[in-house]
Symmetry: C2
Subunit: 130 residues, 2 copies
């Protein structure tokens, strides 16, 4: 990847991600974006963003990829030590500020981490109590 180019589609996707407080799937991006963008394009776009370190993704327990901007983790990373929370009630996946201590694994080469907790998020838990 020698050069990158700015396109309307990319701008819109980044803008949507900035405005959204939780992670997004490719389908959600395609639905919510004002501009019509093909899903293949979104997949490839996100692939580039991930490679560039702008975006990270977390795979939910049902196997779907959820993307988010790399905000809490500035600088150089790939090793995302914050926690993601998947709510089985509303389906959203959030990046939480809480960090996990990544253990040292002698002999292993770490490239990426995915810490996921599945359960009921604060909003849905509150609704359940009413």
């Amino acid at each position: 990847m020698a050069l990158t180019r700015n396109t309307k589609a990319q701008e819109e996707v980044l803008k949507l991600m900035q405005e959204t407080p939780h992670t997004l799937t490719v389908d959600e991006i395609c639905e919510k974006i004002p501009l019509q963008v093909n899903k293949t394009t979104v997949y490839r776009m996100l692939e580039r963003f991930v490679a560039a370190g702008k975006v990270h993704f977390i795979t939910s327990s049902d196997g779907k990829a959820h993307y988010a901007l790399c905000t809490s983790c500035k600088h150089q990373h790939t090793l995302h030590n914050h926690i993601h929370f998947q709510c089985t009630a509303c389906g959203t996946v959030d990046c939480l500020p809480d960090k996990v201590e990544i253990p040292v694994l002698p002999g292993y080469q770490m490239k990426e981490t995915q810490f996921l907790i599945i359960g009921i998020c604060t909003k849905c838990a509150a609704v359940g109590k009413e």
Copy 2:
């Protein structure tokens, strides 16, 4: 699920899982099992095992489910605080003995956890150095 019954297929799957030091996908189970068992059957079987707490699964970053017996975590659980390692070279996913400190998340209800580290496992890293 009022009652459960023992079947050859279930025995064989459990036996295979006991003999295998790493996690297994449904396809791997279907391939490696001496008895011929339909994939749907294996899916439903594992679903039962997971519900019964005999087996847990971890979703790899590419979205596939990898199953393993619950050994390191005896007793009652669902909250698996050990780490899984996904090797991008050989493709295997292992349960590591290393534990993660699960943070307290006020307002959230935790049901399940999935801690995954992606990289190169000890075996593949050693081969790479030769």
